[in-house]
Protein backbone atom coordinates (compact mmCIF):
# COMPACT_ATOMS: atom_id res chain seq x y z
CA UNK A 1 0.00 0.00 0.00
CA UNK A 2 1.21 3.49 -0.80
CA UNK A 3 1.58 6.02 2.00
CA UNK A 4 -0.44 8.49 -0.03
CA UNK A 5 -3.74 6.68 0.02
CA UNK A 6 -6.59 8.30 -1.83
CA UNK A 7 -8.75 9.95 0.81
CA UNK A 8 -12.52 9.77 0.41
CA UNK A 9 -14.18 12.42 -1.77
CA UNK A 10 -10.92 13.70 -3.20
CA UNK A 11 -12.05 13.29 -6.80
CA UNK A 12 -15.14 15.35 -6.27
CA UNK A 13 -13.09 18.10 -4.65
CA UNK A 14 -10.62 18.02 -7.50
CA UNK A 15 -13.39 18.45 -10.05
CA UNK A 16 -14.94 21.36 -8.10
CA UNK A 17 -11.52 22.98 -8.03
CA UNK A 18 -11.19 22.71 -11.82
CA UNK A 19 -14.69 24.07 -12.46
CA UNK A 20 -14.07 27.05 -10.26
CA UNK A 21 -10.75 27.84 -11.93
CA UNK A 22 -12.47 27.62 -15.32
CA UNK A 23 -15.25 29.99 -14.27
CA UNK A 24 -12.73 32.53 -13.05
CA UNK A 25 -10.76 32.32 -16.27
CA UNK A 26 -13.91 32.80 -18.35
CA UNK A 27 -14.75 35.94 -16.40
CA UNK A 28 -11.35 37.33 -17.29
CA UNK A 29 -11.72 36.38 -20.94
CA UNK A 30 -15.22 37.87 -21.15
CA UNK A 31 -13.90 41.33 -20.36
CA UNK A 32 -10.79 41.11 -22.48
CA UNK A 33 -12.55 39.67 -25.54
CA UNK A 34 -15.30 42.29 -25.43
CA UNK A 35 -12.76 45.08 -25.10
CA UNK A 36 -10.77 43.67 -27.98
CA UNK A 37 -13.86 43.42 -30.21
CA UNK A 38 -14.77 47.03 -29.54
CA UNK A 39 -11.22 48.16 -30.23
CA UNK A 40 -11.18 46.23 -33.50
CA UNK A 41 -14.51 47.71 -34.58
CA UNK A 42 -13.31 51.24 -33.80
CA UNK A 43 -10.01 50.62 -35.53
CA UNK A 44 -11.68 49.32 -38.69
CA UNK A 45 -13.97 52.33 -38.88
CA UNK A 46 -11.53 55.01 -37.82
CA UNK A 47 -8.02 54.07 -38.87
CA UNK A 48 -8.50 55.30 -42.41
CA UNK A 49 -9.62 58.75 -41.19
CA UNK A 50 -6.42 59.31 -39.21
CA UNK A 51 -3.94 61.45 -41.06
CA UNK A 52 -1.81 64.49 -40.39
CA UNK A 53 -4.70 66.64 -41.55
CA UNK A 54 -7.02 65.08 -38.95
CA UNK A 55 -4.96 66.72 -36.18
CA UNK A 56 -4.62 70.13 -37.80
CA UNK A 57 -8.17 70.77 -39.00
CA UNK A 58 -11.22 71.85 -37.01
CA UNK A 59 -14.55 70.05 -37.42
CA UNK A 60 -16.23 70.63 -40.74
CA UNK A 61 -19.56 70.36 -42.53
CA UNK A 62 -17.88 67.79 -44.76
CA UNK A 63 -16.92 64.54 -43.00
CA UNK A 64 -13.82 64.02 -45.12
CA UNK A 65 -12.50 67.46 -44.06
CA UNK A 66 -13.33 67.12 -40.36
CA UNK A 67 -10.50 67.13 -37.83
CA UNK A 68 -10.03 67.15 -34.08
CA UNK A 69 -7.66 70.09 -33.74
CA UNK A 70 -9.96 72.24 -31.62
CA UNK A 71 -11.20 69.29 -29.53
CA UNK A 72 -7.70 67.95 -28.88
CA UNK A 73 -6.48 71.38 -27.78
CA UNK A 74 -9.61 71.80 -25.70
CA UNK A 75 -8.83 68.54 -23.93
CA UNK A 76 -5.22 69.63 -23.40
CA UNK A 77 -6.41 72.93 -21.89
CA UNK A 78 -8.88 71.16 -19.63
CA UNK A 79 -6.36 68.60 -18.40
CA UNK A 80 -3.65 71.23 -17.91
CA UNK A 81 -5.91 73.55 -15.93
CA UNK A 82 -7.37 70.67 -13.90
CA UNK A 83 -3.82 69.59 -13.00
CA UNK A 84 -2.91 73.16 -12.02
CA UNK A 85 -5.98 73.47 -9.80
CA UNK A 86 -6.42 70.01 -8.31
CA UNK A 87 -2.76 69.15 -7.58
CA UNK A 88 -2.01 71.98 -5.14
CA UNK A 89 -5.47 72.02 -3.57
CA UNK A 90 -5.67 68.24 -3.30
CA UNK A 91 -2.17 67.81 -1.87
CA UNK A 92 -2.67 70.66 0.60
CA UNK A 93 -5.95 69.12 1.76
CA UNK A 94 -4.29 65.71 2.12
CA UNK A 95 -1.36 67.19 4.08
CA UNK A 96 -3.78 68.93 6.39
CA UNK A 97 -5.87 65.82 6.98
CA UNK A 98 -2.87 63.52 7.49
CA UNK A 99 -0.34 65.72 9.26
CA UNK A 100 -2.12 68.57 10.99
CA UNK A 101 -5.73 67.78 11.84
CA UNK A 102 -6.48 66.21 15.17
CA UNK A 103 -8.02 62.80 14.83
CA UNK A 104 -11.56 63.04 16.10
CA UNK A 105 -15.20 63.02 15.14
CA UNK A 106 -14.86 66.01 12.84
CA UNK A 107 -11.95 64.53 10.88
CA UNK A 108 -13.76 61.19 10.58
CA UNK A 109 -16.81 63.05 9.30
CA UNK A 110 -14.74 64.96 6.74
CA UNK A 111 -12.98 61.78 5.61
CA UNK A 112 -16.28 59.96 5.16
CA UNK A 113 -17.68 62.80 3.07
CA UNK A 114 -14.63 62.98 0.83
CA UNK A 115 -15.14 59.31 0.06
CA UNK A 116 -18.82 60.03 -0.59
CA UNK A 117 -17.98 62.90 -2.93
CA UNK A 118 -15.80 60.55 -4.96
CA UNK A 119 -18.96 58.54 -5.67
CA UNK A 120 -21.25 61.43 -6.63
CA UNK A 121 -22.44 61.17 -10.27
CA UNK A 122 -20.49 63.51 -12.52
CA UNK A 123 -23.62 65.20 -13.86
CA UNK A 124 -24.21 66.59 -10.37
CA UNK A 125 -20.83 68.29 -10.47
CA UNK A 126 -21.82 69.59 -13.92
CA UNK A 127 -24.94 71.24 -12.52
CA UNK A 128 -22.92 72.71 -9.67
CA UNK A 129 -20.38 74.06 -12.14
CA UNK A 130 -23.08 75.54 -14.34
CA UNK A 131 -24.65 77.37 -11.42
CA UNK A 132 -21.53 78.46 -9.53
CA UNK A 133 -18.83 78.97 -12.14
CA UNK A 134 -20.77 79.80 -15.30
CA UNK A 135 -23.46 81.95 -13.72
CA UNK A 136 -22.56 83.18 -10.22
CA UNK A 137 -18.85 83.71 -10.90
CA UNK A 138 -19.83 84.77 -14.46
CA UNK A 139 -17.01 82.85 -16.12
CA UNK A 140 -19.39 82.01 -18.95
CA UNK A 141 -19.21 78.82 -20.95
CA UNK A 142 -15.43 78.97 -20.83
CA UNK A 143 -12.64 76.45 -20.65
CA UNK A 144 -11.82 77.81 -17.18
CA UNK A 145 -15.34 77.11 -15.92
CA UNK A 146 -15.09 73.62 -17.40
CA UNK A 147 -11.71 73.00 -15.78
CA UNK A 148 -12.92 74.22 -12.39
CA UNK A 149 -15.96 71.95 -12.60
CA UNK A 150 -13.74 69.04 -13.58
CA UNK A 151 -11.36 69.86 -10.72
CA UNK A 152 -14.22 69.53 -8.26
CA UNK A 153 -14.98 66.17 -9.79
CA UNK A 154 -11.46 64.77 -9.43
CA UNK A 155 -10.48 66.47 -6.15
CA UNK A 156 -11.86 63.70 -3.91
CA UNK A 157 -9.85 61.09 -5.82
CA UNK A 158 -6.73 63.26 -5.74
CA UNK A 159 -7.12 63.83 -1.99
CA UNK A 160 -7.65 60.13 -1.30
CA UNK A 161 -4.63 59.12 -3.41
CA UNK A 162 -2.42 61.79 -1.86
CA UNK A 163 -3.47 60.76 1.64
CA UNK A 164 -2.63 57.13 0.93
CA UNK A 165 0.78 58.17 -0.38
CA UNK A 166 1.46 60.42 2.63
CA UNK A 167 0.33 57.73 5.05
CA UNK A 168 2.75 55.26 3.44
CA UNK A 169 5.73 57.43 4.45
CA UNK A 170 7.23 55.69 7.50
CA UNK A 171 6.77 57.66 10.72
CA UNK A 172 10.41 57.01 11.61
CA UNK A 173 11.28 59.57 8.92
CA UNK A 174 9.05 62.19 10.51
CA UNK A 175 10.54 61.45 13.92
CA UNK A 176 14.07 61.77 12.53
CA UNK A 177 13.29 65.22 11.15
CA UNK A 178 11.37 66.42 14.21
CA UNK A 179 14.20 65.27 16.50
CA UNK A 180 16.54 67.59 14.58
CA UNK A 181 14.44 70.56 15.55
CA UNK A 182 12.44 70.72 12.35
CA UNK A 183 8.99 72.25 12.41
CA UNK A 184 6.11 70.23 11.08
CA UNK A 185 6.13 72.14 7.83
CA UNK A 186 9.90 71.61 7.35
CA UNK A 187 9.39 67.92 7.99
CA UNK A 188 6.54 67.69 5.51
CA UNK A 189 8.15 69.82 2.81
CA UNK A 190 11.62 68.25 2.92
CA UNK A 191 10.86 64.62 3.64
CA UNK A 192 7.23 63.56 3.65
CA UNK A 193 6.14 65.14 0.37
CA UNK A 194 9.23 64.17 -1.66
CA UNK A 195 8.87 60.59 -0.48
CA UNK A 196 5.13 60.58 -1.17
CA UNK A 197 5.46 62.36 -4.52
CA UNK A 198 5.48 59.28 -6.81
CA UNK A 199 2.31 58.00 -5.16
CA UNK A 200 0.70 61.42 -5.36
CA UNK A 201 1.62 61.83 -9.03
CA UNK A 202 0.29 58.39 -9.87
CA UNK A 203 -3.02 59.29 -8.25
CA UNK A 204 -3.16 62.66 -9.97
CA UNK A 205 -2.43 61.23 -13.41
CA UNK A 206 -5.11 58.58 -13.00
CA UNK A 207 -7.55 61.29 -11.89
CA UNK A 208 -6.62 63.40 -14.90
CA UNK A 209 -7.25 60.50 -17.22
CA UNK A 210 -10.70 60.34 -15.70
CA UNK A 211 -11.12 64.06 -16.35
CA UNK A 212 -10.11 63.71 -19.98
CA UNK A 213 -12.75 61.06 -20.61
CA UNK A 214 -15.65 62.74 -18.79
CA UNK A 215 -18.39 64.23 -20.95
CA UNK A 216 -21.48 64.94 -18.89
CA UNK A 217 -20.25 67.76 -16.62
CA UNK A 218 -18.75 69.62 -19.56
CA UNK A 219 -22.02 69.38 -21.47
CA UNK A 220 -23.63 71.10 -18.49
CA UNK A 221 -21.13 73.95 -18.42
CA UNK A 222 -21.61 74.42 -22.13
CA UNK A 223 -18.83 72.80 -24.13
CA UNK A 224 -20.10 73.04 -27.68
CA UNK A 225 -20.13 70.44 -30.43
CA UNK A 226 -18.90 72.75 -33.11
CA UNK A 227 -15.92 74.92 -32.24
CA UNK A 228 -13.68 76.02 -35.07
CA UNK A 229 -10.67 77.22 -33.08
CA UNK A 230 -8.61 75.90 -30.20
CA UNK A 231 -9.03 77.93 -26.97
CA UNK A 232 -7.00 81.12 -27.09
CA UNK A 233 -7.21 81.75 -23.35
CA UNK A 234 -8.90 80.56 -20.16
CA UNK A 235 -12.11 82.40 -21.03
CA UNK A 236 -12.49 81.01 -24.57
CA UNK A 237 -15.33 78.76 -25.50
CA UNK A 238 -14.18 75.20 -26.02
CA UNK A 239 -14.94 71.62 -26.84
CA UNK A 240 -13.19 68.42 -25.85
CA UNK A 241 -12.59 65.06 -27.50
CA UNK A 242 -15.43 63.07 -25.85
CA UNK A 243 -17.92 65.79 -26.73
CA UNK A 244 -16.64 65.98 -30.29
CA UNK A 245 -17.08 62.20 -30.52
CA UNK A 246 -20.59 62.41 -29.09
CA UNK A 247 -21.49 65.24 -31.49
CA UNK A 248 -20.20 63.42 -34.57
CA UNK A 249 -21.73 60.08 -33.62
CA UNK A 250 -25.07 61.85 -33.17
CA UNK A 251 -25.13 63.31 -36.69
CA UNK A 252 -27.40 61.59 -39.23
CA UNK A 253 -24.71 61.66 -41.94
CA UNK A 254 -23.04 58.20 -41.86
CA UNK A 255 -19.87 59.78 -43.23
CA UNK A 256 -19.10 61.07 -39.71
CA UNK A 257 -18.64 57.56 -38.36
CA UNK A 258 -15.05 57.57 -39.59
CA UNK A 259 -13.99 60.80 -37.86
CA UNK A 260 -15.88 59.75 -34.70
CA UNK A 261 -14.06 56.42 -34.55
CA UNK A 262 -10.75 58.13 -35.31
CA UNK A 263 -11.34 60.60 -32.47
CA UNK A 264 -12.02 57.65 -30.16
CA UNK A 265 -8.64 56.21 -31.16
CA UNK A 266 -6.96 59.53 -30.41
CA UNK A 267 -8.67 59.71 -27.00
CA UNK A 268 -7.67 56.12 -26.21
CA UNK A 269 -4.08 56.83 -27.21
CA UNK A 270 -3.96 59.85 -24.92
CA UNK A 271 -5.48 57.83 -22.06
CA UNK A 272 -3.09 54.92 -22.46
CA UNK A 273 -0.13 57.28 -22.59
CA UNK A 274 -1.19 58.93 -19.36
CA UNK A 275 -1.69 55.62 -17.62
CA UNK A 276 1.68 54.40 -18.85
CA UNK A 277 3.25 57.57 -17.48
CA UNK A 278 1.68 56.80 -14.10
CA UNK A 279 3.14 53.30 -14.11
CA UNK A 280 6.59 54.52 -15.14
CA UNK A 281 6.66 57.21 -12.45
CA UNK A 282 5.64 54.69 -9.83
CA UNK A 283 8.31 52.19 -10.83
CA UNK A 284 11.11 54.68 -11.31
CA UNK A 285 10.73 56.11 -7.82
CA UNK A 286 10.04 52.88 -6.00
CA UNK A 287 13.73 51.92 -6.12
CA UNK A 288 14.64 54.76 -3.80
CA UNK A 289 12.04 53.98 -1.20
CA UNK A 290 13.44 52.98 2.17
Amino acid sequence: MSVLQTSPGVNRRRIANRIFALLCMMSVLFGIVLLFLILKEVWDQGASSISHRFFTEPPSRFPEKAGVQSALWGSVWIVGLVALISLPVGVAAAVYLEEYSRKGRLSTFIELNISNLAGVPSIVFGILGMVVFVRVLALGQSVLAGAMTMSLLVLPTVIIAAREAIRAVPSSMRHAALALGATKWQTVASHVLPTALPGILTGVILSLSRAIGETAPLLMVGAAGYIAFPPSGPLSSFTVLPIQIFFWADLPNPGYRGPAAAAILVLLAVLLTMNAAAVIIRQRFQRYKP
Binding site: P170, M173, H175, A179, G181, A182, Y288
Partner: protein, 272 residues
Protein backbone atom coordinates in the same frame (compact mmCIF):
# COMPACT_ATOMS: atom_id res chain seq x y z
CA UNK B 1 8.34 82.40 23.61
CA UNK B 2 11.25 84.71 22.78
CA UNK B 3 12.37 85.12 26.39
CA UNK B 4 12.49 81.35 26.80
CA UNK B 5 14.49 81.02 23.60
CA UNK B 6 16.88 83.59 24.96
CA UNK B 7 17.09 81.77 28.24
CA UNK B 8 17.88 78.54 26.41
CA UNK B 9 20.39 80.38 24.23
CA UNK B 10 22.20 81.75 27.22
CA UNK B 11 22.67 78.31 28.68
CA UNK B 12 23.54 77.04 25.22
CA UNK B 13 26.40 79.48 24.77
CA UNK B 14 27.61 78.72 28.29
CA UNK B 15 28.15 75.13 27.24
CA UNK B 16 31.55 74.72 28.86
CA UNK B 17 31.13 75.28 32.56
CA UNK B 18 33.81 74.69 35.15
CA UNK B 19 34.44 71.10 36.24
CA UNK B 20 33.07 71.86 39.67
CA UNK B 21 29.78 73.00 38.22
CA UNK B 22 29.51 69.77 36.22
CA UNK B 23 29.46 67.72 39.34
CA UNK B 24 27.08 69.85 41.33
CA UNK B 25 24.37 70.76 38.80
CA UNK B 26 22.57 68.16 36.74
CA UNK B 27 21.95 69.11 33.12
CA UNK B 28 18.62 67.28 33.08
CA UNK B 29 16.35 66.55 35.98
CA UNK B 30 12.84 65.23 36.39
CA UNK B 31 10.65 65.96 39.40
CA UNK B 32 7.50 63.99 40.07
CA UNK B 33 7.33 62.98 36.41
CA UNK B 34 4.32 60.94 35.39
CA UNK B 35 3.55 60.13 31.76
CA UNK B 36 0.21 58.62 30.79
CA UNK B 37 -0.95 57.05 27.56
CA UNK B 38 -4.66 57.66 27.85
CA UNK B 39 -5.49 56.26 31.26
CA UNK B 40 -2.49 54.03 31.88
CA UNK B 41 0.69 55.47 33.35
CA UNK B 42 3.88 54.42 31.58
CA UNK B 43 6.15 56.44 33.88
CA UNK B 44 5.14 56.99 37.50
CA UNK B 45 6.39 59.80 39.70
CA UNK B 46 9.99 59.55 38.56
CA UNK B 47 12.69 61.80 39.95
CA UNK B 48 16.07 61.45 38.28
CA UNK B 49 19.11 63.67 37.77
CA UNK B 50 21.32 63.37 34.69
CA UNK B 51 24.88 64.57 35.21
CA UNK B 52 26.61 66.66 32.57
CA UNK B 53 29.10 64.84 30.31
CA UNK B 54 28.25 61.54 31.82
CA UNK B 55 26.69 58.52 30.23
CA UNK B 56 23.49 57.54 31.94
CA UNK B 57 21.93 54.21 31.04
CA UNK B 58 18.28 53.36 31.57
CA UNK B 59 17.64 49.63 31.83
CA UNK B 60 14.62 47.53 32.61
CA UNK B 61 12.34 44.87 31.20
CA UNK B 62 10.17 45.52 28.11
CA UNK B 63 7.33 47.91 28.77
CA UNK B 64 8.91 49.36 31.90
CA UNK B 65 8.69 52.90 30.53
CA UNK B 66 12.35 53.45 29.74
CA UNK B 67 11.72 54.62 26.16
CA UNK B 68 8.88 56.83 27.35
CA UNK B 69 11.21 58.38 29.91
CA UNK B 70 13.96 59.16 27.41
CA UNK B 71 11.50 60.69 24.96
CA UNK B 72 10.41 63.08 27.68
CA UNK B 73 13.78 64.81 27.50
CA UNK B 74 13.31 66.10 23.95
CA UNK B 75 9.52 66.18 24.00
CA UNK B 76 9.23 63.47 21.37
CA UNK B 77 6.25 62.13 23.30
CA UNK B 78 4.36 65.17 22.01
CA UNK B 79 4.36 63.49 18.60
CA UNK B 80 2.28 60.57 19.90
CA UNK B 81 -1.42 61.30 20.37
CA UNK B 82 -3.01 61.03 23.82
CA UNK B 83 0.18 61.34 25.84
CA UNK B 84 -0.10 63.40 29.00
CA UNK B 85 2.92 64.52 30.98
CA UNK B 86 2.78 65.73 34.58
CA UNK B 87 5.57 67.00 36.79
CA UNK B 88 8.68 68.88 35.84
CA UNK B 89 11.48 68.17 33.41
CA UNK B 90 14.31 70.62 33.96
CA UNK B 91 17.03 71.34 31.44
CA UNK B 92 19.54 73.60 33.16
CA UNK B 93 16.74 74.67 35.52
CA UNK B 94 14.41 75.53 32.64
CA UNK B 95 11.18 73.52 32.63
CA UNK B 96 10.94 71.90 29.20
CA UNK B 97 7.19 71.47 29.63
CA UNK B 98 6.47 75.07 30.60
CA UNK B 99 3.61 76.34 28.43
CA UNK B 100 5.80 78.89 26.64
CA UNK B 101 8.47 76.41 25.55
CA UNK B 102 8.44 75.41 21.89
CA UNK B 103 9.36 71.71 21.45
CA UNK B 104 11.22 72.68 18.27
CA UNK B 105 13.63 74.75 20.38
CA UNK B 106 14.10 71.85 22.77
CA UNK B 107 14.89 69.31 20.07
CA UNK B 108 17.63 71.29 18.38
CA UNK B 109 19.53 71.36 21.66
CA UNK B 110 18.79 67.83 22.80
CA UNK B 111 19.47 65.39 19.99
CA UNK B 112 18.14 61.88 19.56
CA UNK B 113 19.21 58.62 17.95
CA UNK B 114 16.52 56.05 17.39
CA UNK B 115 16.24 52.31 17.80
CA UNK B 116 16.16 51.53 14.11
CA UNK B 117 18.63 53.51 11.98
CA UNK B 118 16.51 56.05 10.10
CA UNK B 119 18.67 58.06 7.72
CA UNK B 120 16.76 60.20 5.25
CA UNK B 121 16.57 58.69 1.75
CA UNK B 122 18.98 61.40 0.60
CA UNK B 123 22.74 61.66 0.13
CA UNK B 124 25.07 61.12 3.08
CA UNK B 125 26.11 64.76 2.84
CA UNK B 126 22.52 65.96 2.82
CA UNK B 127 21.65 63.78 5.82
CA UNK B 128 24.17 65.68 7.93
CA UNK B 129 23.71 69.12 6.39
CA UNK B 130 19.92 69.24 6.61
CA UNK B 131 19.55 69.74 10.37
CA UNK B 132 21.84 72.77 10.67
CA UNK B 133 20.44 74.27 7.48
CA UNK B 134 16.81 74.23 8.56
CA UNK B 135 17.85 75.71 11.88
CA UNK B 136 19.32 78.73 10.11
CA UNK B 137 22.96 77.75 10.56
CA UNK B 138 25.38 79.72 8.41
CA UNK B 139 28.97 78.78 7.74
CA UNK B 140 31.11 76.35 5.82
CA UNK B 141 28.75 73.44 5.27
CA UNK B 142 31.42 71.10 3.86
CA UNK B 143 33.61 71.61 6.89
CA UNK B 144 30.71 71.12 9.26
CA UNK B 145 29.67 67.87 7.53
CA UNK B 146 33.23 66.57 7.66
CA UNK B 147 33.65 67.46 11.34
CA UNK B 148 30.36 65.81 12.24
CA UNK B 149 31.19 62.65 10.30
CA UNK B 150 34.63 62.52 11.91
CA UNK B 151 33.15 62.87 15.38
CA UNK B 152 30.81 60.01 14.53
CA UNK B 153 33.80 57.89 13.41
CA UNK B 154 32.30 57.52 9.94
CA UNK B 155 34.36 59.95 7.85
CA UNK B 156 36.98 57.50 6.65
CA UNK B 157 34.37 55.05 5.44
CA UNK B 158 32.25 57.56 3.51
CA UNK B 159 34.54 60.41 2.49
CA UNK B 160 34.67 59.21 -1.13
CA UNK B 161 30.95 58.67 -1.49
CA UNK B 162 29.27 61.61 0.21
CA UNK B 163 26.74 61.85 -2.60
CA UNK B 164 25.61 58.24 -2.22
CA UNK B 165 22.20 57.60 -0.72
CA UNK B 166 22.41 57.17 3.06
CA UNK B 167 20.30 54.03 2.79
CA UNK B 168 23.05 52.26 0.84
CA UNK B 169 25.23 52.09 3.96
CA UNK B 170 25.28 49.08 6.26
CA UNK B 171 23.09 49.11 9.38
CA UNK B 172 25.94 50.09 11.68
CA UNK B 173 27.11 52.82 9.32
CA UNK B 174 23.55 54.11 9.03
CA UNK B 175 23.33 54.38 12.80
CA UNK B 176 26.63 56.28 12.95
CA UNK B 177 25.29 58.54 10.19
CA UNK B 178 22.28 59.21 12.42
CA UNK B 179 24.66 60.05 15.26
CA UNK B 180 26.60 62.39 12.93
CA UNK B 181 23.31 63.98 11.95
CA UNK B 182 22.49 64.62 15.60
CA UNK B 183 26.02 65.90 16.36
CA UNK B 184 25.86 68.37 13.45
CA UNK B 185 23.45 70.51 15.48
CA UNK B 186 26.01 70.76 18.30
CA UNK B 187 23.57 69.58 20.93
CA UNK B 188 24.49 69.38 24.58
CA UNK B 189 22.67 66.16 25.16
CA UNK B 190 22.30 63.12 22.92
CA UNK B 191 19.49 60.72 23.71
CA UNK B 192 19.87 57.19 22.40
CA UNK B 193 16.89 54.86 22.39
CA UNK B 194 18.30 51.32 22.13
CA UNK B 195 20.72 52.43 19.40
CA UNK B 196 22.26 48.98 18.92
CA UNK B 197 19.25 46.71 19.10
CA UNK B 198 19.08 46.40 15.29
CA UNK B 199 22.84 45.88 14.85
CA UNK B 200 25.23 42.93 14.85
CA UNK B 201 27.92 42.59 17.56
CA UNK B 202 30.71 44.16 15.49
CA UNK B 203 28.64 47.22 14.62
CA UNK B 204 27.47 47.37 18.25
CA UNK B 205 31.10 47.40 19.41
CA UNK B 206 31.87 50.35 17.13
CA UNK B 207 28.89 52.32 18.38
CA UNK B 208 29.84 51.65 22.00
CA UNK B 209 33.39 52.86 21.32
CA UNK B 210 31.94 55.95 19.74
CA UNK B 211 29.63 56.59 22.68
CA UNK B 212 32.61 56.52 25.04
CA UNK B 213 34.43 59.04 22.82
CA UNK B 214 31.41 61.32 22.60
CA UNK B 215 31.26 61.52 26.37
CA UNK B 216 34.14 64.04 26.20
CA UNK B 217 31.82 66.61 24.67
CA UNK B 218 28.27 65.52 25.20
CA UNK B 219 25.91 64.30 27.87
CA UNK B 220 24.51 60.96 26.80
CA UNK B 221 21.40 59.18 27.96
CA UNK B 222 21.05 55.67 26.56
CA UNK B 223 18.16 53.26 26.84
CA UNK B 224 19.25 49.67 26.47
CA UNK B 225 17.81 46.24 27.05
CA UNK B 226 21.34 44.91 27.06
CA UNK B 227 22.70 44.94 30.62
CA UNK B 228 26.24 44.20 29.54
CA UNK B 229 26.07 47.25 27.34
CA UNK B 230 24.90 49.40 30.23
CA UNK B 231 27.73 48.01 32.37
CA UNK B 232 30.30 48.58 29.61
CA UNK B 233 29.53 52.15 28.64
CA UNK B 234 27.63 53.98 31.36
CA UNK B 235 28.68 55.97 34.41
CA UNK B 236 25.24 55.93 35.99
CA UNK B 237 22.43 53.48 35.59
CA UNK B 238 18.73 53.80 36.25
CA UNK B 239 16.71 50.63 36.67
CA UNK B 240 13.04 50.92 35.86
CA UNK B 241 10.23 48.45 36.30
CA UNK B 242 6.51 48.85 35.54
CA UNK B 243 6.92 52.61 35.18
CA UNK B 244 8.68 53.08 38.51
CA UNK B 245 12.27 54.14 38.91
CA UNK B 246 13.45 51.36 41.21
CA UNK B 247 17.07 52.27 41.62
CA UNK B 248 19.48 54.88 40.36
CA UNK B 249 23.17 55.13 41.04
CA UNK B 250 26.72 54.75 39.80
CA UNK B 251 26.84 51.85 37.35
CA UNK B 252 29.49 49.84 39.22
CA UNK B 253 27.51 50.10 42.42
CA UNK B 254 24.20 49.20 40.83
CA UNK B 255 25.66 46.14 39.16
CA UNK B 256 27.77 44.92 42.09
CA UNK B 257 25.83 45.97 45.18
CA UNK B 258 22.25 46.69 44.19
CA UNK B 259 20.15 48.02 47.03
CA UNK B 260 16.77 46.81 45.82
CA UNK B 261 15.85 43.16 45.62
CA UNK B 262 14.17 43.53 42.20
CA UNK B 263 17.27 45.23 40.75
CA UNK B 264 19.33 42.28 41.84
CA UNK B 265 16.79 39.84 40.42
CA UNK B 266 16.82 41.66 37.09
CA UNK B 267 20.57 42.03 36.67
CA UNK B 268 21.18 38.44 37.65
CA UNK B 269 18.67 37.36 35.03
CA UNK B 270 15.94 36.06 37.29
CA UNK B 271 13.27 38.02 35.40
CA UNK B 272 12.80 40.38 32.46
Amino acid sequence: MTDVTEALNVTYSAAAPTPAAQESRPILETRGLTVRYGASAAVKNVAVKIGERHITAIIGPSGCGKSTLIRVFNRMNDVIPNVHTEGQVLYRDQDLYAPNVDPVEVRRRIGMVFQKPNPFPKSIFENVAWGPRINGWKGNVKEMVETSLRKAALWNEVKDKLSDNGLQLSGGQQQRLCIARAIALEPEVILMDEPCSALDPVATGKIEELILELKERYTIVIVTHNMQQAARVSDFTAFMCMGDLIEFGPTTQLFTKPVQKSTEDYITGRFG
